[in-house]
Point group: C2
Chain length 401, copies 2
């Protein structure tokens, strides 16, 4: 191979992507039923509404929608996003207290760029979002895994880890996390905010799934709760996204953070991509201003809720005590553990290979851990297959097992 002597930066040595590549290779086979994705169902997109919003943006504000824009974000969108959060119970976030990011992935990148030095400790949940692990490691983070259970991150253990490692920050997905699908309890949410203040430690709340609840609304986000814990807003970063509820293709996310951090994130973003597409931002702003989100959210909640129920019912009836999981109350994922009952395999990666042979794909859980992986875990997405295909796919899983 030519150029094997290209002078790559040392930070690239921190990242091992073969696990990811292996996962994606699994998905190429024709006829496969995929529970492997981490994305919403394209069939759920409000294409008509988005097209109308785009046309309105180009008719009413073509100069702004097609020109360079402020790195902080397009002002009308910042206002709409502040209002969107206010409707969800987040008080006192002014438009200038949030910046628009190119998807919430960019918020993670800006957090890494502004905060992480080589060797910096960062606490994440075990398991957590794969692209978060890689993103922070590219900046040289030394990740520490905090254990979770059915109520989310274990806060006593978290406090011990804070004391021991004095991390730059703690990264959590408290609501319907990827991959765990878990839900941090209200009591623990308050404890997390109290720990942030007590140890003067930043907490990053990544919240792309909080709107995707199926029945009762989840506990308030850490951001919404922060007014109950004095001083906690000074230590809280909140990342939101339209990707899971409206469209990932717009690449519109946002970040709320203390003013000093926000200013530095803007500086870094200026040299990362100058600004998020104003065309996409103006389209999103028009969509939100048009008042379409409540109906859109009601629709996706109903469809994903039904698919989640179908998948959980089928898993219980078809795989029985060979598999263990908590029924998700929202999000896109069932996070399950192979029990090894009746001599069945307990290894997620082995089971994934067996499943592919039977024509169904999912993602084994090990790569979602930054340390000490639970090899018996797996992540199943119920978002993109309809209910019949879900039942068929779970049937194939049973055959594979």
């Amino acid at each position: 191979m030519p150029n094997s002597n290209l002078p790559f930066a040392q930070r690239l040595d921190n990242v091992e992507t073969s696990a990811i590549r292996e996962l994606f290779k699994l998905l190429g086979k024709p006829g496969i039923i995929s529970f492997a994705g981490g994305f919403p169902d394209s069939a759920m997109f409000d294409v008509t509404g988005i097209a109308a919003a785009a046309n309105k943006a180009l008719t009413e504000e073509p100069g702004s929608a097609l020109q360079y824009g402020a790195t902080e974000g397009y002002e009308p969108l910042r206002k709409q996003l502040a209002a969107f959060m206010a409707q969800k119970g987040v008080q006192n976030v002014a438009p200038e207290q949030l910046i628009v990011t190119t998807g919430s992935q960019q918020a993670l990148d800006l957090i890494g760029k502004t905060l992480i030095d080589p060797g910096s400790k960062v606490i994440v949940e075990g398991p957590t979002f794969l692209a978060t692990i890689q993103c922070f490691r590219l900046y040289g983070a030394d990740l520490v895994s905090a254990p979770i259970d059915a109520d989310g991150v274990q806060v006593d253990e978290l406090e011990e880890l804070i004391k021991q490692h004095k991390p730059k920050f703690i990264y959590l997905i408290p609501t319907f996390g990827n991959p765990s699908g878990g839900l941090l309890s209200l009591e623990r949410r308050k404890r997390v905010l109290e720990l942030a203040v007590k140890y003067q430690t930043l907490v990053v709340e990544d919240d792309p799934y909080g709107d995707l609840y199926f029945n009762a609304a989840p506990p308030p986000s850490l951001l919404a709760l922060s007014h109950e814990v004095p001083g906690s807003r000074d230590w809280l970063v909140h990342c939101g996204s339209l990707s899971k509820v409206l469209s990932p293709g717009l690449r519109v996310g946002w970040m709320v953070a203390p003013a000093e951090l926000l200013a530095r994130a803007v500086m870094c973003k200026q040299f990362s991509d100058a600004h998020t597409s104003t065309f996409a931002q103006a389209t999103a702003a028009q969509y939100l201003a048009g008042g379409h989100m409540p109906a859109t959210l009601a629709r996706v909640r109903k469809v994903y809720g039904a698919r989640a129920k179908t998948m959980c019912d089928a898993l219980r009836s078809e795989l029985g005590d060979a598999i263990d999981f908590v029924t998700p109350q929202g999000g896109l994922f069932v996070w399950a553990r192979l029990t090894g009952a009746n001599g069945k395999t307990k290894d997620g990666a082995t089971f994934a290979r067996q499943a592919i042979e039977k024509g169904v794909a999912f993602v084994p859980g090990a790569p979602f851990y930054c340390a000490n992986p639970d090899l018996s875990t797996l992540r199943l997405s119920f978002a993109t297959a309809d209910e019949d295909r879900i039942r068929e796919g779970v049937g194939r899983l049973a055959q594979a097992l």
Copy 2:
């Protein structure tokens, strides 16, 4: 200010943004005629054509245009961009040899992320693009300034700097550079490619302005020339952009690079923003496929060419021998030097303050140097004011001087 103890990363200490903030503060006054921008004229955008392309994308391919996409870029756009470059004489760039970036600013960021370690030497032109300086410094680059003249970077001097510093790479804007407006001669282009091969050193060609020529086409890009210099493609990175010719708001740029580098840039991009807005990419692809670019380019070339001539004529007649510049043959900028004739000021920053008081803004040249700034320089954009306003603005400059 609360949180002054937030644990920011050391890399932030590498960047001084006050110069930039000062520049932008100059622009707030009402009634000002601005030659300060680095952007195209919003009035030139083909709003109708872009709206039609967006509608076509959402009608014909809604699932793709609104869903997550490949980090490398949306396949139909990669094909269109390869074809667009082929029309400009770039042979042998297959779609898979380029990736789509979120504006060409992101290409710079990915080059920094994949190649620069703290302390890495990088050679740039003196002067060069301000956001390049900051972007590379955020990754810890130690920048070396290579002198330019009317024919672009001085290649003998460049060779000495390569031998002395053994840089990770050389960054050039060979065609109508920002801020210099300069044009690297054909002979020097070949020499640069030969130096890349001789010293096994990557050369980054940033080319957002190459399509904006006013009369004769400029010499071929380094990428187009590379087939004449055996082995040079292995050491060449080329960044393109639709921002200056179609719309910055789409944030669509691209990067051609050796396969190994491209693979690592994709890995880094995955954790930077996952992918560039598929909505913007599908819109751009439809626009290019519709064959609108030749007419759009002809229109902007004509308008900017007339504005450039108006500005240069007015500068010569109004400021006389107090100012010296090479008439630009393309791009957006006149790069000028105050001569100090007849006891007039020779300091660009002083002149900028005097000009603001007379109601006209431009950018003094010093911040565009990574070292040894020429304080007598200034950058004047002729892109966004019409010809009457340009004459009026240059009249105010004469009063200010």
